[in-house]
Amino acid sequence: MDKRFVYLDHQATTPVLEEALQAMLPYFREAYGSPSSLHRFGLQVREGLKEAREKIARMINAESEEDLIFTSGGTESSNLAIKGFADANHRKGNHLVISAIEHPSVMNSVEYLTKHGFEVTQVPVDAVGRINPEDVRAAITDKTILVAVHLVNHDIGTIQPVKEIAKITAEKGIALYADALAAAGWMPIDVQDLGVQLLSFSPHRFYGPKGIGVLYRNRKARVTSHIHGGVQENGRRAGTENVPAIIGAGVAAEIAVRDLSKRVEHVAALQKRLYEGLWKHIEYIKLNGPEPGPLRVCNTLNLSTEFIEGEGQLLLLDYQGIAVASGSSCVSKSLKVSHVLSAIKLDHALAQGNIIMSLGKDNTVEDVDYVLDTFPKIVHKLRNMSPMWKEFEEGVIDSVIKPTGRGKSFTEHAAAVSGKAAH
């Protein structure tokens, strides 16, 4: 097949919709006033902001558009949700419950709090990355003020039982914060139906611009501001609004709602085609997270290809025009495998061979077929280069995915040759 460019990293970010871009442009040079100003330049922009806020509120069925706080991005939103809530509620208790596989912006915000008198319980997940709501119940103490769980895992695509968890937190009178970063735009979100008090997301994940994040926070959840200055966002987030980005986010939200079922249907069909094709053409490959279906977000596949490492796969795919991500330790600056893969207790050898492909609305069947044509060749090339593949064929080491009963495990082998246990 002819080389083509296939972007399969939509969980990292997406291109801005044409409609969103066109709506943003006048706000750079024509409608450039500050929404805080009282003159007509300001009032004009204020009206645009209000409309954008209403569109975003509708996307998640917020009780009121006043419940939305605009921030600089998903990361700031999680920071504000967690640290802001903890700050505002520390008199009620100092304990938080999160899952073991939250986004780094949640994990690290919580870790920061543990250095300032808070305690945290991390609820484990099962082999496909699902949180058991009963584990959340068991983790709650009389000091717990907040439970934080994501709607969809950013790495392995697992959809979490947030509604069931919300029943438990409601029963106990505790606030629930849901990080919807990997979910927004790819499944319906209704904050009232879910029963969450805080929820955040980032419009650049669904064809809005970067530099804008949203935090929904209803009247039951108080948060203390962390960016101090003027009284923008009702005093909850100071600083002149990123007007063009908010306008673009509004349009992206409106279209995400309008096109949701069409997008989901299209992307889920590609996901299925990719999944079935890869499994047909490549041996010793494992899906991380649930099978495509009701427990998995429609746009991602997270896979581990045995006997080869992930960065090599990523680079060769990139060379062929296919953009993907990887959770391999070689790819991360800390040289650790993704904490999500560790939490689902994925064997180290498989975590090393990790690749994440996330589809978008503009991907086509031809794109998927190109990947299905290209990826098996890459796997073949890298396996030829890998000492592990030959050692597997010779029975020195065994496969984790399809054990033959011959040879020791890769992990034992790696520990023996490196003189150190794999992390």
Partner: protein, 136 residues
């Protein structure tokens, strides 16, 4: 901004050695084989050597690791061929890094893996030689 397709993670030399690795494979009836693992990231590299008259006649590698590790093992085997064992024992990863035109700081350890695999292969050769010399 250049065009998207003109960007690569590593420089041209590293990319070339990664995409077209030299000396990939196993030396048949090798005189010395070294297999080492990176404690940092868990990757594995294997170098096999053919040694004649105290010189490295052939060197081949196999690598389970990142692009830098593959490029480093390709470059290391290129550099080492034709050297005497004494020279090879002084081989340092810095030579690989320089010949590759530099590696990102976080990827220097991948070149260390190449140095270690080479030295392990020489040790293996010498260990195999020892009984023969003792018997003679």
């Amino acid at each position: 901004m250049k065009e998207t397709k003109e960007y690569t993670l590593y420089n041209d030399t590293v990319m070339d050695h990664f995409l077209n690795p030299r000396n990939m494979g196993d030396v048949q009836e090798a005189d010395g084989v070294g297999e080492v693992g990176a404690a940092a990231c868990g990757d594995i590299m294997k170098i096999s050597l053919k040694i004649r008259d105290g010189k490295i006649e052939d060197a081949r590698f196999k690598t389970f690791g990142c692009g830098s590790a593959i490029a480093s093992s390709s470059m290391a085997t290129e550099l080492i061929k034709g050297r005497t064992l004494e020279e090879a024992k002084n081989f340092s990863n810095q030579e690989v890094v320089d010949a590759l035109g530099g590696l990102p700081p976080v990827k220097i350890h991948c070149s260390v893996l190449a140095e270690e695999a080479l030295k392990a292969a020489i040790e293996d050769y010498e260990a195999k030689q020892a009984p023969k010399t003792a018997a003679a």
